[in-house]
Protein backbone atom coordinates (compact mmCIF):
# COMPACT_ATOMS: atom_id res chain seq x y z
CA UNK A 1 0.00 0.00 0.00
CA UNK A 2 1.29 3.45 -0.89
CA UNK A 3 1.55 6.04 1.88
CA UNK A 4 -2.03 7.30 2.34
CA UNK A 5 -0.88 10.84 3.09
CA UNK A 6 -3.80 12.45 1.25
CA UNK A 7 -6.23 10.62 3.52
CA UNK A 8 -4.61 11.56 6.83
CA UNK A 9 -6.47 14.85 7.30
CA UNK A 10 -9.80 13.22 6.51
CA UNK A 11 -8.88 10.44 8.94
CA UNK A 12 -8.26 12.83 11.83
CA UNK A 13 -11.46 14.69 10.87
CA UNK A 14 -13.44 11.46 10.97
CA UNK A 15 -14.46 12.02 7.36
CA UNK A 16 -13.21 8.77 5.80
CA UNK A 17 -15.54 5.95 4.90
CA UNK A 18 -15.24 3.22 7.57
CA UNK A 19 -13.59 0.70 5.24
CA UNK A 20 -11.01 3.22 4.05
CA UNK A 21 -10.38 4.43 7.59
CA UNK A 22 -9.62 0.85 8.60
CA UNK A 23 -7.14 0.46 5.74
CA UNK A 24 -5.34 3.67 6.65
CA UNK A 25 -5.20 2.76 10.34
CA UNK A 26 -3.77 -0.60 9.38
CA UNK A 27 -1.07 1.13 7.34
CA UNK A 28 -0.28 3.56 10.15
CA UNK A 29 0.32 0.68 12.52
CA UNK A 30 3.36 -0.30 10.48
CA UNK A 31 4.52 3.02 8.96
CA UNK A 32 6.40 5.46 11.14
CA UNK A 33 6.59 8.06 8.37
CA UNK A 34 2.83 8.27 8.10
CA UNK A 35 2.41 8.25 11.86
CA UNK A 36 4.79 11.20 12.11
CA UNK A 37 2.89 13.08 9.42
CA UNK A 38 -0.40 12.40 11.14
CA UNK A 39 1.00 13.72 14.42
CA UNK A 40 2.24 16.82 12.64
CA UNK A 41 -1.23 17.53 11.24
CA UNK A 42 -2.86 16.87 14.61
CA UNK A 43 -0.43 19.23 16.33
CA UNK A 44 -1.41 22.00 13.93
CA UNK A 45 -5.08 21.40 14.68
CA UNK A 46 -4.38 21.58 18.40
CA UNK A 47 -2.64 24.91 17.89
CA UNK A 48 -5.65 26.23 15.99
CA UNK A 49 -7.83 25.23 18.92
CA UNK A 50 -5.79 27.61 21.10
CA UNK A 51 -6.82 30.61 19.03
CA UNK A 52 -8.60 33.27 21.04
CA UNK A 53 -12.32 33.49 20.32
CA UNK A 54 -13.45 35.79 17.55
CA UNK A 55 -14.51 39.28 18.58
CA UNK A 56 -17.90 39.76 20.18
CA UNK A 57 -20.49 41.53 18.06
CA UNK A 58 -20.67 45.21 18.91
CA UNK A 59 -23.76 46.33 20.86
CA UNK A 60 -24.98 48.13 17.75
CA UNK A 61 -24.71 45.22 15.34
CA UNK A 62 -28.32 44.07 15.55
CA UNK A 63 -29.69 47.62 15.59
CA UNK A 64 -27.73 48.49 12.45
CA UNK A 65 -28.83 45.33 10.70
CA UNK A 66 -32.46 45.96 11.61
CA UNK A 67 -32.17 49.50 10.27
CA UNK A 68 -30.87 48.14 6.96
CA UNK A 69 -33.63 45.54 6.75
CA UNK A 70 -36.36 48.05 7.55
CA UNK A 71 -36.51 49.27 3.96
CA UNK A 72 -36.55 45.77 2.49
CA UNK A 73 -39.96 44.40 1.37
CA UNK A 74 -41.03 41.08 2.82
CA UNK A 75 -40.86 38.09 0.45
CA UNK A 76 -44.61 37.60 0.99
CA UNK A 77 -45.12 40.66 -1.17
CA UNK A 78 -44.22 38.56 -4.17
CA UNK A 79 -41.36 37.63 -6.40
CA UNK A 80 -38.78 39.80 -8.01
CA UNK A 81 -41.25 41.51 -10.36
CA UNK A 82 -43.54 42.40 -7.49
CA UNK A 83 -40.62 43.65 -5.49
CA UNK A 84 -39.44 45.78 -8.38
CA UNK A 85 -42.96 47.07 -8.75
CA UNK A 86 -43.08 47.83 -5.03
CA UNK A 87 -39.75 49.60 -5.24
CA UNK A 88 -41.02 51.64 -8.20
CA UNK A 89 -44.59 51.92 -6.97
CA UNK A 90 -44.57 55.70 -7.44
CA UNK A 91 -42.64 55.77 -10.68
CA UNK A 92 -44.79 53.17 -12.46
CA UNK A 93 -48.16 55.04 -12.38
CA UNK A 94 -46.44 58.29 -13.26
CA UNK A 95 -44.70 56.60 -16.14
CA UNK A 96 -47.91 54.95 -17.31
CA UNK A 97 -49.79 58.26 -17.21
CA UNK A 98 -47.02 59.94 -19.15
CA UNK A 99 -47.12 57.19 -21.79
CA UNK A 100 -50.90 57.49 -22.18
CA UNK A 101 -50.67 61.26 -22.48
CA UNK A 102 -47.92 61.02 -25.07
CA UNK A 103 -49.94 58.51 -27.11
CA UNK A 104 -53.03 60.75 -27.03
CA UNK A 105 -50.98 63.74 -28.13
CA UNK A 106 -49.51 61.73 -30.98
CA UNK A 107 -52.98 60.67 -32.18
CA UNK A 108 -54.21 64.26 -32.10
CA UNK A 109 -51.18 65.49 -34.01
CA UNK A 110 -51.43 62.74 -36.64
CA UNK A 111 -55.13 63.42 -37.09
CA UNK A 112 -54.45 67.16 -37.38
CA UNK A 113 -51.76 66.53 -39.98
CA UNK A 114 -54.16 64.38 -42.00
CA UNK A 115 -56.82 67.07 -41.90
CA UNK A 116 -54.36 69.75 -42.92
CA UNK A 117 -53.21 67.59 -45.83
CA UNK A 118 -56.81 66.97 -46.83
CA UNK A 119 -57.60 70.68 -46.71
CA UNK A 120 -54.52 71.55 -48.75
CA UNK A 121 -55.52 69.12 -51.51
CA UNK A 122 -59.26 69.64 -51.33
CA UNK A 123 -59.61 70.89 -54.97
CA UNK A 124 -57.69 67.89 -56.20
CA UNK A 125 -59.90 65.47 -54.28
CA UNK A 126 -62.97 67.24 -55.62
CA UNK A 127 -61.65 66.89 -59.16
CA UNK A 128 -60.89 63.24 -58.64
CA UNK A 129 -64.38 62.70 -57.24
CA UNK A 130 -65.96 64.43 -60.24
CA UNK A 131 -63.99 62.31 -62.66
CA UNK A 132 -64.84 59.17 -60.77
CA UNK A 133 -68.52 60.06 -60.68
CA UNK A 134 -68.51 60.60 -64.42
CA UNK A 135 -67.84 56.93 -64.75
CA UNK A 136 -65.15 57.67 -67.30
CA UNK A 137 -62.42 55.44 -65.89
CA UNK A 138 -62.88 52.76 -68.44
CA UNK A 139 -59.29 52.11 -69.41
CA UNK A 140 -55.93 51.81 -67.73
CA UNK A 141 -54.94 55.07 -69.31
CA UNK A 142 -57.89 56.80 -67.64
CA UNK A 143 -56.86 55.37 -64.31
CA UNK A 144 -53.30 56.67 -64.77
CA UNK A 145 -54.61 60.12 -65.63
CA UNK A 146 -56.93 60.12 -62.61
CA UNK A 147 -54.11 59.03 -60.35
CA UNK A 148 -51.94 61.88 -61.62
CA UNK A 149 -54.47 64.64 -61.64
CA UNK A 150 -52.25 66.74 -59.42
CA UNK A 151 -49.49 66.58 -62.03
CA UNK A 152 -51.70 67.79 -64.85
CA UNK A 153 -51.25 71.46 -65.43
CA UNK A 154 -54.09 73.64 -66.57
CA UNK A 155 -53.95 74.54 -70.23
CA UNK A 156 -51.99 77.69 -71.01
CA UNK A 157 -49.87 77.56 -67.89
CA UNK A 158 -46.19 77.50 -68.64
CA UNK A 159 -43.43 76.73 -66.24
Amino acid sequence: MRHPIADLTALVDGALAPARAEEVEHHLASCETCRTEKERLLAALHVLARLPPSPEPSPFFLARLEARLRDEPLPEQGGILSRLAARWRIAVPVGALAAVAAAALLVVRVRAAHEQEFARNLPLFEDYEVVANLDTLNSPEDAVIAANLDAIEPAGVKR
Binding site: A6, D13, L48, R50, Q77
Partner: protein
Protein backbone atom coordinates in the same frame (compact mmCIF):
# COMPACT_ATOMS: atom_id res chain seq x y z
CA UNK B 1 -32.35 14.81 5.70
CA UNK B 2 -32.89 15.53 9.42
CA UNK B 3 -35.26 18.38 10.33
CA UNK B 4 -33.63 21.76 9.97
CA UNK B 5 -35.13 24.32 12.40
CA UNK B 6 -33.35 27.12 10.55
CA UNK B 7 -34.96 26.07 7.30
CA UNK B 8 -38.35 26.10 9.02
CA UNK B 9 -37.70 29.64 10.22
CA UNK B 10 -36.61 30.74 6.78
CA UNK B 11 -39.69 29.22 5.18
CA UNK B 12 -41.82 31.05 7.75
CA UNK B 13 -40.04 34.23 6.75
CA UNK B 14 -40.75 33.49 3.09
CA UNK B 15 -44.42 33.31 4.03
CA UNK B 16 -44.15 36.80 5.47
CA UNK B 17 -43.16 36.26 9.11
CA UNK B 18 -40.53 38.96 9.69
CA UNK B 19 -39.91 37.78 13.26
CA UNK B 20 -38.69 34.43 11.89
CA UNK B 21 -35.88 36.18 10.03
CA UNK B 22 -35.00 38.10 13.17
CA UNK B 23 -34.63 34.84 15.07
CA UNK B 24 -32.39 33.53 12.30
CA UNK B 25 -29.96 36.40 12.34
CA UNK B 26 -29.94 36.56 16.12
CA UNK B 27 -28.99 32.90 16.08
CA UNK B 28 -26.27 33.18 13.44
CA UNK B 29 -24.96 36.74 13.87
CA UNK B 30 -22.00 35.89 16.03
CA UNK B 31 -20.88 32.95 13.88
CA UNK B 32 -21.28 35.02 10.75
CA UNK B 33 -19.19 37.88 12.11
CA UNK B 34 -16.52 35.37 13.12
CA UNK B 35 -16.62 33.78 9.67
CA UNK B 36 -16.19 37.15 7.95
CA UNK B 37 -13.44 38.03 10.42
CA UNK B 38 -11.41 35.09 9.14
CA UNK B 39 -11.34 36.81 5.76
CA UNK B 40 -10.78 40.46 6.61
CA UNK B 41 -9.28 40.33 10.14
CA UNK B 42 -10.93 43.58 11.08
CA UNK B 43 -13.79 43.60 13.57
CA UNK B 44 -15.67 46.59 12.18
CA UNK B 45 -15.36 45.42 8.59
CA UNK B 46 -16.35 41.88 9.57
CA UNK B 47 -19.57 43.26 11.08
CA UNK B 48 -20.34 45.20 7.92
CA UNK B 49 -19.75 42.11 5.81
CA UNK B 50 -21.95 40.02 8.09
CA UNK B 51 -24.72 42.59 7.75
CA UNK B 52 -24.31 42.52 3.97
CA UNK B 53 -24.65 38.73 4.08
CA UNK B 54 -27.91 38.86 6.03
CA UNK B 55 -29.32 41.49 3.68
CA UNK B 56 -28.38 39.28 0.72
CA UNK B 57 -30.00 36.28 2.39
CA UNK B 58 -33.11 38.37 3.00
CA UNK B 59 -33.25 39.35 -0.66
CA UNK B 60 -32.55 35.80 -1.79
CA UNK B 61 -35.51 34.25 -0.01
CA UNK B 62 -37.28 33.60 -3.30
CA UNK B 63 -34.35 31.47 -4.49
CA UNK B 64 -34.18 29.28 -1.40
CA UNK B 65 -35.20 25.68 -1.91
CA UNK B 66 -36.35 23.83 1.20
CA UNK B 67 -34.26 20.83 0.13
CA UNK B 68 -31.11 22.74 1.05
CA UNK B 69 -29.99 23.19 4.63
CA UNK B 70 -30.24 26.82 5.64
CA UNK B 71 -26.70 26.83 6.99
CA UNK B 72 -25.19 25.79 3.66
CA UNK B 73 -27.34 28.41 1.92
CA UNK B 74 -26.11 31.04 4.40
CA UNK B 75 -22.45 30.09 4.12
CA UNK B 76 -22.55 29.93 0.35
CA UNK B 77 -23.71 33.53 0.21
CA UNK B 78 -21.21 34.50 2.90
CA UNK B 79 -18.27 32.76 1.17
CA UNK B 80 -18.98 34.42 -2.14
CA UNK B 81 -19.37 37.79 -0.49
CA UNK B 82 -16.16 37.53 1.53
CA UNK B 83 -14.12 36.30 -1.44
CA UNK B 84 -15.48 39.14 -3.57
CA UNK B 85 -14.46 41.51 -0.81
CA UNK B 86 -10.93 40.09 -0.82
CA UNK B 87 -10.74 40.38 -4.59
CA UNK B 88 -11.38 44.09 -4.30
CA UNK B 89 -7.78 44.16 -3.11
CA UNK B 90 -8.14 46.33 -0.02
CA UNK B 91 -6.52 43.82 2.25
CA UNK B 92 -2.98 43.78 0.95
CA UNK B 93 -1.13 41.66 -1.54
CA UNK B 94 -0.89 37.98 -0.87
CA UNK B 95 2.43 36.44 -0.02
CA UNK B 96 3.78 33.67 -2.22
CA UNK B 97 2.07 30.33 -1.75
CA UNK B 98 4.98 28.26 -2.93
CA UNK B 99 6.25 25.32 -0.94
CA UNK B 100 9.56 27.10 -0.56
CA UNK B 101 8.00 29.54 1.87
CA UNK B 102 9.55 29.37 5.27
CA UNK B 103 7.35 28.89 8.31
CA UNK B 104 6.29 32.26 9.62
CA UNK B 105 8.35 33.67 12.42
CA UNK B 106 5.74 34.69 15.00
CA UNK B 107 8.09 37.28 16.50
CA UNK B 108 8.02 39.20 13.24
CA UNK B 109 4.24 39.49 13.12
CA UNK B 110 2.16 42.40 14.24
CA UNK B 111 -1.30 41.52 15.47
CA UNK B 112 -4.52 43.12 14.31
CA UNK B 113 -7.60 43.63 16.40
CA UNK B 114 -5.58 42.59 19.39
CA UNK B 115 -7.51 43.32 22.52
CA UNK B 116 -5.70 44.32 25.69
CA UNK B 117 -6.68 41.10 27.43
CA UNK B 118 -4.98 38.85 24.92
CA UNK B 119 -1.65 37.39 25.78
CA UNK B 120 1.37 38.04 23.63
CA UNK B 121 1.34 34.39 22.63
CA UNK B 122 -2.30 34.59 21.57
CA UNK B 123 -1.62 37.69 19.48
CA UNK B 124 1.30 36.01 17.77
CA UNK B 125 -0.80 32.96 17.05
CA UNK B 126 -3.60 35.09 15.61
CA UNK B 127 -1.16 36.91 13.39
CA UNK B 128 0.39 33.66 12.21
CA UNK B 129 -3.04 32.26 11.34
CA UNK B 130 -3.80 35.46 9.45
CA UNK B 131 -0.65 35.02 7.38
CA UNK B 132 -1.54 31.37 6.84
CA UNK B 133 -5.05 32.22 5.61
CA UNK B 134 -3.74 34.96 3.36
CA UNK B 135 -1.33 32.60 1.63
CA UNK B 136 -4.00 29.98 0.87
CA UNK B 137 -5.78 30.02 -2.49
CA UNK B 138 -9.42 31.14 -2.25
CA UNK B 139 -11.03 27.71 -2.38
CA UNK B 140 -8.57 26.20 0.13
CA UNK B 141 -9.05 29.16 2.44
CA UNK B 142 -12.83 28.88 2.37
CA UNK B 143 -12.80 25.11 2.85
CA UNK B 144 -10.27 25.42 5.67
CA UNK B 145 -12.23 28.13 7.50
CA UNK B 146 -15.48 26.19 7.15
CA UNK B 147 -13.88 22.98 8.39
CA UNK B 148 -11.58 24.28 11.12
CA UNK B 149 -13.43 27.28 12.53
CA UNK B 150 -17.07 26.74 11.62
CA UNK B 151 -17.02 23.00 12.16
CA UNK B 152 -18.89 22.13 8.99
CA UNK B 153 -18.65 18.49 7.83
CA UNK B 154 -17.10 17.81 4.44
CA UNK B 155 -20.40 17.16 2.71
CA UNK B 156 -21.80 20.49 3.86
CA UNK B 157 -18.64 22.25 2.69
CA UNK B 158 -19.11 20.56 -0.68
CA UNK B 159 -22.60 22.06 -0.87
CA UNK B 160 -21.33 25.50 0.11
CA UNK B 161 -18.56 25.41 -2.48
CA UNK B 162 -20.71 23.64 -5.05
CA UNK B 163 -18.13 20.89 -5.50
CA UNK B 164 -17.63 17.22 -4.67
CA UNK B 165 -16.80 15.77 -1.26
CA UNK B 166 -13.56 14.32 -2.65
CA UNK B 167 -12.57 17.79 -3.85
CA UNK B 168 -13.27 19.16 -0.37
CA UNK B 169 -11.17 16.39 1.13
CA UNK B 170 -8.27 17.45 -1.05
CA UNK B 171 -8.75 21.18 -0.37
CA UNK B 172 -8.90 20.72 3.39
CA UNK B 173 -5.93 18.38 3.37
CA UNK B 174 -3.69 20.70 1.37
CA UNK B 175 -4.66 23.65 3.55
CA UNK B 176 -4.00 21.65 6.70
CA UNK B 177 -0.56 20.59 5.43
CA UNK B 178 0.21 24.28 4.80
CA UNK B 179 -1.08 25.08 8.29
CA UNK B 180 1.17 22.45 9.83
CA UNK B 181 4.13 24.08 8.14
CA UNK B 182 3.10 27.65 8.98
CA UNK B 183 2.27 26.92 12.59
CA UNK B 184 5.31 24.79 13.34
CA UNK B 185 6.81 27.53 15.56
CA UNK B 186 3.82 26.98 17.85
CA UNK B 187 3.93 23.20 17.82
CA UNK B 188 7.62 22.79 18.45
CA UNK B 189 7.83 20.73 15.30
CA UNK B 190 11.21 21.17 13.63
CA UNK B 191 10.70 18.56 10.95
CA UNK B 192 9.98 19.38 7.36
CA UNK B 193 7.08 17.88 5.52
CA UNK B 194 8.31 14.49 4.40
CA UNK B 195 5.68 13.46 1.94
CA UNK B 196 3.19 15.19 -0.22
Amino acid sequence: MPPDPDAELFLAFKRGDASAFRRLYERHARAMIAFCHHFVRNAARAEELAQDVFVKVYRSADRYQPSARFKTFLYRIASNHCLNELRRGEYGARPSTGPEDEPTDPDSLAGTDAGPDKTVEARKLEAAVQVLLDRLPDNQRTAFVLARFEGLPYDDIALVLDTSVSAVKSLVHRATVTAAQALSPFTGDKSEEVLS
